[in-house]
């Protein structure tokens, strides 16, 4: 599938970036099914995952056949952020990943919904969902940051560990009509407010990995991603052409 790894046209690049973020994060949240710390979180995490999967399906359909794109692309053709492919870790890691991403996605969709580009209709619906996701992540950041010593330690460790994947969210994407610098400023301000309220502070250090040459938007992913795809695509690939 060498054609897949070629740089897609601008419109497709933007569609795939947004679609793959939602698809892959949804998949990660699906791994929580039956493992959540309380039943209410089984419901909440599945609910968020379902919203994201819904967004992914709309977006992928803008670029082609949703199942072909989800199940038959190789790792190098996926355009999602490295952040969303990171393993779930403990609940604090999952919440830190949700906090970083949902604040970003909410700011992004708010801006896209206000414009008249190709993503405006989807964004108008998704912005309501992302407001809920953001709320959920913020509430848990407060509980964990301002809970026990143990939860505070874990939340801080999770925020630190994922920090290096957040810079990628503000790289320009071809065909995505937003101002990355303004988006980043709003994201930082919103994140700073939540962390302050939780008695935490912004992690220190660079927001791109020490090795910054590659990133998910160019199809360069972290190692756990290959295993995620192997699991996600196995059954579909085992029965070429079958309908489900």
């Amino acid at each position: 599938m060498s054609a897949d790894t070629a740089t897609p046209p601008a419109a497709t690049a933007a569609v795939l970036a947004l679609a793959d973020d939602a698809l892959i994060l949804s998949h990660r949240l699906g791994e929580w099914a039956g493992h959540a710390p309380v039943l209410e979180e089984e419901v909440a995490l599945a609910n968020i995952a379902l919203d994201l999967l819904g967004q992914a399906r709309v977006l992928l359909s803008m670029a082609g056949d949703e199942d072909e794109l989800a199940f038959l692309r190789e790792e190098r053709a996926f355009r999602n952020l490295q952040l969303v492919e990171q393993p779930n870790g403990d609940f604090a890691h999952t919440i830190a990943r949700q906090l970083y991403f949902s604040l970003y996605q909410h700011e992004l969709y708010t801006e896209l919904a206000a414009g008249d580009g190709p993503f405006a209709p989807l964004a108008a619906k998704a912005v309501k969902e992302t407001a809920y996701h953001r709320d959920h992540a913020e509430q848990w950041t407060l509980r964990l940051g301002d809970g026990t010593e143990e939860s505070r330690r874990r939340m801080r460790a999770a925020l630190d560990a994922l920090w290096k994947y957040t810079g990628e969210m503000f790289r320009p994407v071809d065909g995505l009509d937003v101002d990355p610098a303004a988006l980043e400023a709003r994201w930082l301000a919103a994140l700073g407010r939540v962390l302050e309220q939780a008695g935490l502070s912004l992690p220190e250090g660079p927001r791109t990995g020490a090795w910054a040459a590659g990133a998910g938007r160019e199809g360069l992913h972290t190692e756990p991603f290959g295993r995620l795809l192997a699991e996600m695509q196995h059954l579909h690939r085992s029965h070429p052409g079958a309908s489900w």
């Binding site: 039943l39 399906r57 949703e66 143990e150 939860s151 996600m232 059954l235 489900w244």
Partner: protein
């Protein structure tokens, strides 16, 4: 009890009032007097029902990350989410009887309270997901639709909502199987194989035969249960046989046939020894199901403690704010 003027009271005492309420097909509500046996039977049944929803998330949840299309993945997510919701709903109903959710969870992971035998069977292929929808949710509906009229109000009302969603899941499961049967030879084989493996365990979901069901008589007298195990099993078989024909699969029972005189299908007996083994903890996945539930609970302890600590801090802040 909305009609106090019709309710005998005073010299007849609360027991007579209870019996009368049951006799008139009225509902018992949380604040009403009820016999200890009625209360404990209901707690046991509702808790086990709730546990079944929660453990039942596992066999299907196994396939969320492997679902072969995005549509099926979305359906599975929604279904597993509904099951968690049903569990919450049922735990709430049990709590109206004085049971405590934390305690019920402890009893589940200690093996002191049971859950439906069916969830101790493994899901081997994606067709199992469809067959669980068709058989397991179908059997659950046969059991639960009469429970919408059970004598305990909160349980009956929980069942109304649960049944609506279960019917939807059942149709989705059957629709998956229809799609697979129109597909490749491999897909059709998967469906038949799953049917073969799940048929007898599904019949066991209704419990032991009436002659061997110690709690049934009292539950029926109290109108907690409205039909016997064997009646409900028969209803399930009669409902499922034509669906199997339409689907184009066979049911793995050589004696299964329509009995004109009875107006019902005759069918073979499940392996009751197997049911006993599974219910007593010795089924294919009992240990794994409980271990996973226990791990989720134990690994989540620090999260629940954080939530409690945060809530307590917030409450203190509100109090101090009000005092200042």
């Amino acid at each position: 009890m909305n009609t106090p003027t019709l309710t005998p009271s005073g010299p007849q005492g609360p027991e007579a009032t209870f019996e009368d309420t049951i006799a008139r097909d009225q509902r018992i509500e949380p604040r009403d007097w009820m016999p200890d046996g009625y209360r404990s039977t209901l707690i046991r049944q509702i808790a086990q029902h709730a546990h079944s929803e929660i453990i039942g998330m596992q066999p299907e949840g196994e396939w969320i990350t492997r679902a072969p299309s995005l549509r099926r993945k979305a359906i599975l997510f929604a279904k597993v989410q509904d099951e968690a919701g049903h569990g919450l709903y049922l735990y709430s109903a049990a709590e109206t009887l004085g049971a405590d959710r934390t305690d019920m969870t402890a009893r589940l992971i200690d093996g002191r309270q049971k859950y439906s035998s069916i969830f101790n069977y493994p899901t081997h292929t994606f067709a199992d997901v469809g067959v669980i929808g068709w058989f397991v949710d179908g059997a659950a509906i046969c059991n639960q639709v009469p429970l919408c009229r059970t004598s305990y109000g909160p349980y009956g009302r929980a069942m109304v909502r649960v049944c609506k969603e279960e019917s939807f899941h059942q149709r989705q499961g059957y629709e998956l199987l229809l799609t697979m049967m129109r597909g490749t030879d491999e897909q059709r084989e998967m469906v038949q194989d799953a049917v073969n493996r799940w048929w007898w365990p599904s019949l066991m979901m209704f419990g032991p035969p009436d002659a061997d069901s110690p709690n049934s008589a009292r539950s029926m007298a109290w109108k907690i249960k409205r039909h016997s195990n064997d009646e409900l099993r028969q209803r399930f078989v009669d409902m499922t046989v034509p669906q199997a024909q339409k689907l184009g699969v066979t049911l793995p029972d050589p004696v299964l046939r329509w009995n004109e005189e009875r107006g019902h299908h005759d069918f073979g007996a499940p392996d009751w020894d197997e049911l006993k083994r599974v219910v007593s903890g010795d089924g294919p996945c009992n240990a794994e199901r409980i271990a996973r539930r226990r791990a989720a609970h134990e690994e989540g302890a620090w999260v629940r403690e954080a939530a409690s600590a945060h809530a307590a801090k917030q409450a203190t802040r509100v109090r101090e704010g009000a005092a200042a």
